[in-house]
């Protein structure tokens, strides 16, 4: 039994070694000549087949980020003839020394194509094609080059791509990252790189001694990356960018039902095309080194003082804490003092507003009324209501790094400044000054939350369903504030636009009932920042809007008219769509 098993095992082992011998016989003796030619000529070439990145499309299916056909010219050292350098220099309009250095570089990998000119012009390609039979070792291949048709208008949303670093290549999966591959560096390109990126393929070909392809030995086809649909409307985005392109400003409009951002423009901006076109290197350097910081998306990464719009938060807190009722009045004579003898806090109207209730105080943005509310609320309760309404934190907007803002309280000041909180600072905070910092998009979120009667909005811009992406369930957070208080405040915001004494009256427009609040926030230096936040229509809110102009001066004079223009564009585009679809159905 035992020895029978040993004999069997010995036979199996012998059989295995025989299998090797037979294979060696076929490989070396029968096919030896074939492999010998392959080895002598080194006739195997490796051709990578890069995968196209997925497209980014807007809500109407328009291309925000696409791919355009582009020709690259490369050389394969083994097949290249150095006498062709002069001719190539003439056709491609390159310096001879540049071509020579590429040829020298190609020596290191003599059997793989090495890039000579990326994104060559059509004229050059035609000329090379005509010379095709004579010219040796020069290859032209067409592939997709990233294209951003809306340029600066959507630059901060689409983001841009850049060449991967050596480290990223080595850590990456070779099927996903080629040696000189691009990777998303900001915006949607970065946040959804994994989704947009396809699976690269490759081809192993056998060539003859003149470099002509004899056969494909093995091949894997590339798989294109997935497309992404955004909730952004490219036409609206582009029209809004036109409004602000010469300023330092942000305008954002969002759909209240879906929490979907329809347009979010930031100026200054950049043209992402500059990052994928080798000829535009100078522009890239300009963007990255400019003191105006066009690469920073101020809409989500900027931190600015807010000013009077914060009074909405204080009003909600005071109502909910029963410090005031809609009927409570305070008298404004232009100044407010905490204790006798202390320096008085001023209203923006030195003559005083007289006796004010909540509605009037919001409409005319009276400081004194909110000093009184703030004094009674105290910093901790103000901060807690601000946080409930979405300030001081980030959420998932799909655009990457957001500045969470600062909502100061006693602990914050102790940690950061190392000093206790003074009551005077509470008074400043009550009108949105002090250490409070917000990003423009947070204010869009705040005003949307008010329009929603307290459902904390989570603005987002990816249409997950259409993109075939799984969306993590968005939690429906409700602020712990009675809905009636929101309605009270919204009525006052409507008055701020409609009343002849309202601070936002320049946002008033035909055919759309706007409600909103302006702000002129003191900046550390220079003119104050100009803010407007609102929603429309008042009766059944559809959209929320934020308009922000850095150092733009009075909110009522600068941001409010900007918001009106933006809403007019939104309305006319919406009406055009309605007419269009009516015509189509008729």
């Amino acid at each position: 039994m035992d020895s029978a098993r040993l004999t069997f095992l010995r036979s199996v082992f012998l059989l295995l070694l025989c299998v090797l011998a037979v294979n060696l016989f076929f490989c070396q003796v029968i096919n030896g000549q074939y492999y010998l030619t392959l080895s002598e000529q080194n006739r195997i070439r490796l051709i990578p087949l890069p995968a196209l990145r997925g497209q980014v499309l807007d809500s109407a299916g328009r291309v925000l980020t696409g791919n355009r056909p582009s020709y690259d010219v490369s050389i394969v050292y083994q097949d290249f003839d150095r006498n062709q350098i002069d001719l190539l220099a003439k056709i491609l309009n390159l310096r001879k020394s540049d071509i020579k250095s590429v040829v020298d570089k190609a020596k290191a990998s003599p059997f793989s194509p090495v890039l000579l000119e990326a994104d060559a012009g059509m004229e050059e390609i035609f000329q090379l094609e005509e010379l095709n039979p004579e010219i040796k070792g020069v290859y032209m291949d067409i592939h997709g080059r990233r294209n951003y048709p809306w340029r600066e208008a959507a630059g901060h949303i689409t983001g841009y791509i850049g060449l991967i670093s050596r480290k990223e290549y080595e850590n990456g999966d070779r099927v996903r990252f080629l040696f000189s591959d691009y990777i998303g560096r900001s915006g949607i390109e970065k946040a959804f790189d994994e989704h947009l990126r396809g699976y690269h393929g490759g081809r192993q070909i056998e060539v003859n001694s003149r470099g002509q392809v004899l056969k494909t030995m093995s091949e894997r086809r590339p798989t294109k990356g997935h497309d992404i649909y955004l909730t952004i409307d490219a036409e609206l985005q582009s029209a809004l960018y036109e409004l602000i392109k010469d300023k330092r400003a942000v305008v954002g409009i969002m759909d209240l039902k879906k929490d979907a951002v329809l347009a979010l423009v930031t100026a200054p901006s950049f043209d992402p095309n500059a990052f994928v076109m080798p000829s535009r290197a100078g522009e890239r350097v300009g963007y990255l080194s400019s003191s105006g910081k066009p690469m920073v998306n101020q809409a989500i990464q900027g931190g600015f003082p807010l000013g009077s719009i914060f009074k909405l938060v204080v009003a909600l807190g005071a109502l909910e804490e029963k410090i005031i009722t809609p009927g409570t009045t305070f008298h404004c004579d232009g100044t407010f003092t905490l204790k006798p003898g202390q320096r008085p806090f001023k209203c923006w109207n030195p003559a005083g507003h007289g006796t004010m209730n909540l509605n009037q105080a919001v409409m005319q943005s009276c400081n004194i009324f909110f000093y009184e509310c703030g004094k009674r609320l105290g910093v901790e309760r103000i901060a807690s209501y601000a946080r409930q309404l979405g300030l001081g934190s980030t959420w998932d907007l799909e655009l990457g790094t957001m500045f969470p803002g600062i909502v100061p309280d006693q602990q914050w000041k102790l940690d950061r400044i190392g000093d206790r909180w003074y009551q005077g600072e509470t008074i400043s905070l009550a009108i949105g000054q002090s250490y409070l910092l917000v990003s423009p998009l947070q204010i869009l979120r705040l005003v949307a939350t008010i329009a929603n009667d307290g459902r904390v909005a989570e603005p987002h811009m990816v249409d997950y369903e259409r993109s075939g992406l799984h969306e993590t369930a968005r939690k429906k957070n409700m602020a712990h504030i009675n809905a009636a208080h929101f309605r009270e405040l919204k009525a006052a915001m409507r008055e701020a636009i409609e009343s002849s004494r309202g601070t936002g009256r320049l946002a008033r427009m035909e055919g759309l009932s706007v409600a909103g609040k302006t702000s002129t926030a003191q900046a550390p230096t220079g003119e104050g920042h100009s803010w407007f936040a609102g929603f429309a229509p008042f009766e059944a809110p559809e959209v929320a809007i934020v308009a922000f102009i850095e150092h733009g001066g009075s909110g009522g004079l600068a941001a409010a008219p900007l918001a009106r223009e933006a809403l007019e564009i939104w309305q006319s585009q919406k009406n055009a769509r309605v007419t269009n679809s009516a015509e189509l159905s008729a």
Binding site: L17, L20, F25, C27, P48
Partner: protein, 358 residues
């Protein structure tokens, strides 16, 4: 010198010959870069032969007695590799001790064989049942999983066939052995669907390099070209071209057979295979002349280890086996593997030495 009288001279001589064939080919693979590796290999070969004699003098029994201790040590080393191991070529297999990097997975193979011999040999009574089988599997699977995690699929590929051969010689019931294989086949799809996308792709490339034409597929083709272009008689010593142009990656380690086949042709390849057949045969005859069940199991495991290394490594260069990092026994460059194989030979030689002790 009783020790030398009892030495199985033929087995030792053939092993030394194979080791020298290795040095010669490593020199050729590396000649254009100064021949550093050949010199190092020669040093390692003398170390390995020295260690082999020490093991031979000690005899295999103390090693069997210490098997479980060695087993725990191997597990600990593999654990260290996973935590602080040095990454080379995408896998984490080495631990550095100053200038020397050791590869615990190489030693783990031999330790596993010792452990199984000791365990199965002392539980001959369990051969008719299932419990011994299950225990042997559990013993093997622990280091196996740790090695797969490195990831070193090739070494893992050695463990299971060796275990099977040992269980077979031990006398496990055939229907249990066949049943185990079928059970494995049943669980394979479940295992497959539990893998992540990139893990599946890595395994697929492992099985069929053609789906990765720029990576493993390229290596596979270049290796075949190297072997095939050698023809009947080869291009002569130092005459190979594939490795000179760096077409053959890892030419002094995993693909050393490609260098030999290119320069020495079919005749050279067959000669090396015949040398292997000789040592396998001598080990079998040593096995048959001992009655110690543990020694028989130990020899079986060692023979199986040699055979599967040779089959997978040479099979890989001719394209019938997946591309793995498995060395060609006593030929591939590398101290850890050289020492491991010579220690194994030392154990078999000591079985021969002690055969007459009844």
């Amino acid at each position: 010198m009783k020790l030398f009288k009892l030495l199985h001279v033929k087995l030792f001589f053939f092993c030394l010959l194979i080791g020298l064939v290795g040095v010669l080919n490593i020199y050729s693979a590396d000649a254009h870069a100064g021949g550093q590796f050949a010199l190092k290999q020669l040093v390692w070969l003398s170390v390995a032969v020295g260690v082999m004699f020490v093991v031979y003098a000690i005899g295999y029994r103390p090693f069997l007695n210490a098997a479980f201790l060695l087993y725990l040590l191997a597990i600990a080393l593999l654990g260290i590799v996973l935590v602080i191991g040095v990454i080379r070529g995408g896998a984490q297999r080495w631990i550095r001790f100053g200038p020397v990097g050791i590869q615990p997975s190489e030693f783990a193979k031999l330790v596993m064989i010792l452990t199984l011999s000791s365990f199965l040999g002392s539980r001959k009574d369990l051969a008719k049942g299932k419990s011994g089988l299950v225990a042997a599997f559990l013993l093997t699977v622990i280091p196996l999983i740790m090695i797969v995690k490195q990831p070193d699929l090739g070494t893992a590929l050695i463990f299971l066939p060796v275990l099977f051969c040992m269980l077979f010689v031990w006398g496990a019931k055939l229907r249990y052995l066949i049943g185990t294989v079928m059970l494995g086949g049943f669980f394979a799809p479940i295992f497959w669907f539990s893998l992540k996308e990139y893990q599946k792709r890595r395994l697929l490339v492992f099985i069929n390099p053609d789906i990765d034409p720029l990576g493993a597929g390229y290596t596979a083709v270049q290796s075949k070209i190297a072997v095939g272009s050698g023809g009947l008689v080869g291009k002569g010593f130092l005459g190979g071209t594939q490795h000179l142009l760096a077409f053959l990656p890892e030419d002094h380690t995993d693909f050393i057979f490609g260098v030999l086949a290119e320069e020495w042709g079919f005749l050279g390849s067959i000669l090396l295979l015949l040398l292997y057949v000789m040592i396998i045969w001598q080990m079998f005859s040593i096995l048959e002349h001992t009655t110690d069940i543990k020694a028989r199991l130990l020899a079986t495991g060692i023979i199986a280890m040699f055979v599967f290394h040779i089959f997978i490594n040479v099979g890989m260069t001719v394209g019938i086996m997946p591309i793995t990092g498995l060395p060609l026994p006593m030929v591939s460059y590398g101290g850890s593997s050289l020492v491991t194989f010579f220690v194994a030979i030392g154990l078999v030689l000591s079985i021969y030495k002690e055969r007459s002790v009844f």
